[in-house]
């Protein structure tokens, strides 16, 4: 591997508390080193902005939901088309890009790691087949446990260790990195077209409540000492008045002591869950109330789920909400329930500034980020492609950094929005340090990927580096927001594992990334109890045999395996 020296970089590396210092970065054998010989290739950053490679902890980039989105939407696949070149395969698609555009698009923006937000265990092989085709970026996935019969049965029998044993087994079966909970219990109720109304509404036929599902999985998560916390999509998403459920949910893990230096729970795309009012007519933002809670509590992190006007393809394991949206908007609707495990739905739609509802949703995402003081607590995401495609991240960054840009955007948004939100009154403008936290550092930290060299530029980190064509010292991001957006959209350089993969926004190399997964162990007696129940379920209820279920090694060519378990 070659050696590389990046000179005169203006570096923002929050994990190492580097805040816009001009420095050189030395790279050797794909890692950041403190110094190298003088034979190395040199990139003169010449005072330009340098970030660690972007990390996206919550995005839908691979698997059965993304692919039914593609199959359903040739109208999307025909957008953003680029013919093949010597280096790149063809690009297709805007909200559901093909696997090549998926990887190239992230790399062009200086991103080098992305985590798939939902893997149904029974369809995990599909997710990994797509991982193996997405070029350049490193990947991992969050495995769904939230309406799983094995989990709910163990909870009903108050057998926490058996819950942990199944989580350990499920993560290995799906080659996943963390525990994903979506509308806990609702997926099972959706099996007969129903839903759970709130945290204490028992799941039909299984007699456990969403609160219990969250609590047991959170405790199991810590017993197993997993690198990431539970990753939770709250009940009642997309319903006016749902913020009360969200606040109740926040409290569930308040007393849980995480085993690692991270949050006890991460709650995702909270924008969709921070709605006041009782119905569409009186819907209003509760972003401020959520932010107040965030400012008073440290056991949790959230991510925005920012809305971007234009086309989107909503996809989530929250089957009921996808059906409700499709019915309301008369949109196309795919539903994909997975036996014994979870629901899922895919609904293409588009967001319009003229709609005050979409205006409120747009505002809430920004309120969460701007009203929560500590930037580490609120990650920037659009829940790609639910709030909007990830290629619009630079637009969201510009909004966070510039009140002027917010005002320009607000001019086109329905007036009622501003009676129901506080966005127009917020002056805060985030700086380059905050943005580095919200687009790399905090993502890596909540995932437990810092020790794997992600999201920072300290010695020993992976040499994943983004150089943007903008000089922080000579650019007023609060005013020149177009320049900010353009610079972040096409990186001057993206370096992945020490190799230059993007130059002036164009792909120059397409190495394959790695897949990170967790191999954790629970006590053997709990494991045996779990396996007995699991074998019974395969015999009686699964439509595939146990021997054909787990993802095999052939599907993870470049694995990085975190080993952990009971202390």
């Amino acid at each position: 591997m070659s050696e590389l020296l990046i000179k005169n970089a203006v570096v923002y590396d929050p994990i190492n508390k580097v805040n816009g210092e001009k420095m050189d970065i030395a790279v050797k054998d794909g890692k950041i080193v403190d110094s190298i010989g003088n034979g190395a290739d040199v990139i003169d950053a010449a005072g330009r902005l340098v970030y660690p490679g972007g990390v996206d902890a919550h995005t839908h980039i691979a698997g059965s939901k993304v692919n039914i989105g593609r199959i359903m939407r040739p109208d999307d696949s025909r957008l953003n088309n680029k013919p093949r070149t010597k280096i790149t395969r063809p690009y297709t698609g805007y909200t559901v890009p093909n696997v090549y555009a998926m990887g190239y698009g992230y790399a062009e923006m200086g991103y080098t790691t992305a985590f798939e937000a939902a893997i149904p265990i029974m369809k995990a092989r599909h997710t990994h087949e797509e991982f193996e085709e997405i070029p350049i970026i490193d990947k991992g996935g969050l495995t769904l446990f939230s309406s799983n019969w094995m989990v709910m049965d163990a909870i009903r029998e108050d057998d926490l260790d058996r819950v942990a044993a199944y989580v350990a087994w499920g993560l290995e079966a799906s080659r996943g990195w963390g525990v994903k909970i979506v509308n806990p219990g609702g997926g099972e109720a959706w099996g007969f077209g129903k839903n759970v109304a709130g945290l204490d509404d028992p799941v039909p036929n299984f007699e456990v409540t969403p609160r219990q599902i969250i609590r047991y999985l959170a405790e199991a998560n810590e017993k197993l000492n997993l690198p990431h916390s539970i990753h939770l999509h709250c009940n009642n998403l997309g319903k006016p008045g749902n913020y009360t459920t969200t606040l109740e949910t926040f409290d569930i893990c308040k007393d849980i002591k995480p085993k690692r230096d991270r949050q006890a729970v991460h709650l995702t795309h909270i924008q969709f869950n921070a709605w006041g009012g009782n119905h569409w007519g009186d819907m209003e933002s509760k972003g401020d109330v959520i932010a107040k809670y965030m400012n008073k509590n440290d056991h949790l992190t959230i991510d925005m789920g920012q809305l971007v006007f234009g086309s989107a393809t909503t996809m989530t394991a929250d089957g009921p909400v996808q059906y409700a949206n499709a019915k309301l908007l008369k949109a196309r609707w795919a539903n994909g329930d997975v036996e014994l495990e979870d629901a899922s739905g895919v609904t293409p739609l588009s967001y319009h500034p003229e709609s005050y509802i979409h205006g409120i949703m747009w505002a809430i995402g920004l309120e969460l980020a701007l009203l929560t003081e500590d930037p580490w607590k609120v990650l920037m995401t659009t829940d790609h492609p639910n709030g909007g495609p990830y290629v619009n991240y630079p637009d969201v960054v510009a909004l966070l950094m510039s009140k002027k840009k917010r005002e320009e955007a607000m001019a086109k948004i329905a007036d009622l929005t501003f009676e129901r939100t506080s966005i127009a009154t917020i002056d805060r403008e985030l700086d380059w340090y905050d943005i580095a936290i919200k687009t790399r550092a905090a993502h890596s930290k909540i995932l437990g990927m810092v020790e794997y060299g992600k999201g920072h530029l300290g010695v020993g980190a992976d040499a994943d580096i983004a150089i943007y064509d903008l000089k922080p010292d000579e650019t007023d991001a609060t005013v020149e927001h177009e320049k900010v957006k353009a610079a972040l959209r096409k990186a001057a350089y993206t370096i992945k594992g020490g190799e230059i993969v993007v130059k002036d926004g164009e792909i120059t190399a397409t190495p394959m990334g790695r897949t990170y997964w967790v191999k954790s162990t629970a006590p053997s007696d709990a494991h045996d109890r779990m396996m007995a129940d699991l074998k019974l379920k395969f015999k009686n209820y699964y439509s595939v045999n146990f021997a054909n279920y787990m993802v095999q090694d052939e599907y993870v060519h470049n694995p990085v395996i975190e080993e952990c378990g009971y202390a």
């Binding site: 359903m72 939407r73 040739p74 109208d75 999307d76 025909r78 196309r332």
Partner: protein, 252 residues
């Protein structure tokens, strides 16, 4: 005024994609410039000069450009794609997607127009003197809207799905139409002077008038009695009730 005349040099067998042939692209260009433009014969790029004898008379803006194609272009696709102004006259048959995404100007086809003529049309006018294929004035796969404006007139017959996902504009078929004309019509007008079958399925808005015979009716329309349109009495149906449709279907 600028007139561009194209005469195909050979009988093309493999379809040629020639989306460059529009008044917008030819405006103010010389025969040499036009000849250098690339069309694709299957996977092979070929300059227009290899495919057509090109003569240019005068120079003008798109609105005053007239392109005349004399000869068989039954295997030349996408002529007039996304044109905004000017005129194209095709003396003969033309292949698929003629006038797709058209915004303005006019296209006249004296012979047969293959499928997807006027696909996703926004404005302007297309006249087909002969017959036309499937999906006249329809949309692309998965798009909620096909034609949103402009006018298509076909003197002969058309095949199935004419005006599918029509969101606006007007389609007049003087001959017969195949099955399911005006399916998912959201607000356009279709007049079929000949016969057709199963008109207006999933229509939510807009108008379909069938002056000939409807050989098969969809079982989803409310009979509202008779009504006279332009002096002719029809039975008026409103539907499609399964989509709470307020479309109006006039049947003899």
């Amino acid at each position: 005024m600028q007139t561009v005349t194209l005469v195909p040099k050979e009988q093309f067998k493999i379809s040629i994609e020639a989306e460059t042939i529009t008044p917008d692209n030819f405006a103010g260009k010389s025969a040499q410039d036009i000849g250098a433009m690339i069309a694709y014969e299957g996977n092979t790029p070929r300059p227009l000069s290899e495919l057509f004898d090109i003569t240019v008379d005068g120079s003008a803006d798109a609105a005053d450009v007239k392109i005349e194609i004399n000869g068989n272009v039954a295997r030349v696709k996408r002529i007039g794609e996304a044109m905004s102004a000017g005129e194209i006259v095709i003396n003969g048959d033309v292949d698929m997607r003629c006038g797709a995404l058209m915004r303005g100007g006019s296209i006249t086809i004296t012979g047969y127009a293959d499928s997807w003529v006027g696909r996703e049309m926004r404005g302007g006018e297309i006249t087909v003197k002969g017959n036309a294929g499937f999906y006249v004035g329809a949309g692309y796969r998965g798009e909620p809207c096909g034609m949103t404006g402009g006018k298509i007139t076909v003197f002969g017959n058309v095949l199935d799905y004419v005006g599918e996902h029509l969101c606006g504009g007007e389609i007049i078929i003087k001959g017969n139409a195949g099955i399911l004309p005006g399916i998912s019509n959201k607000g356009g007008t279709i007049i079929i002077e000949g016969d057709t079958a199963m008109p207006g399925s999933e229509m939510t808005k807009g108008t379909i008038i069938v002056k000939g015979t409807v050989t098969e009716m969809m079982p989803v329309y409310q009979n509202e009695g008779t009504e006279t349109v332009d002096g002719v009495e029809y039975t008026k149906y409103v539907g499609d009730v399964t989509v709470d449709g307020a479309g109006e279907l006039f049947v003899k």
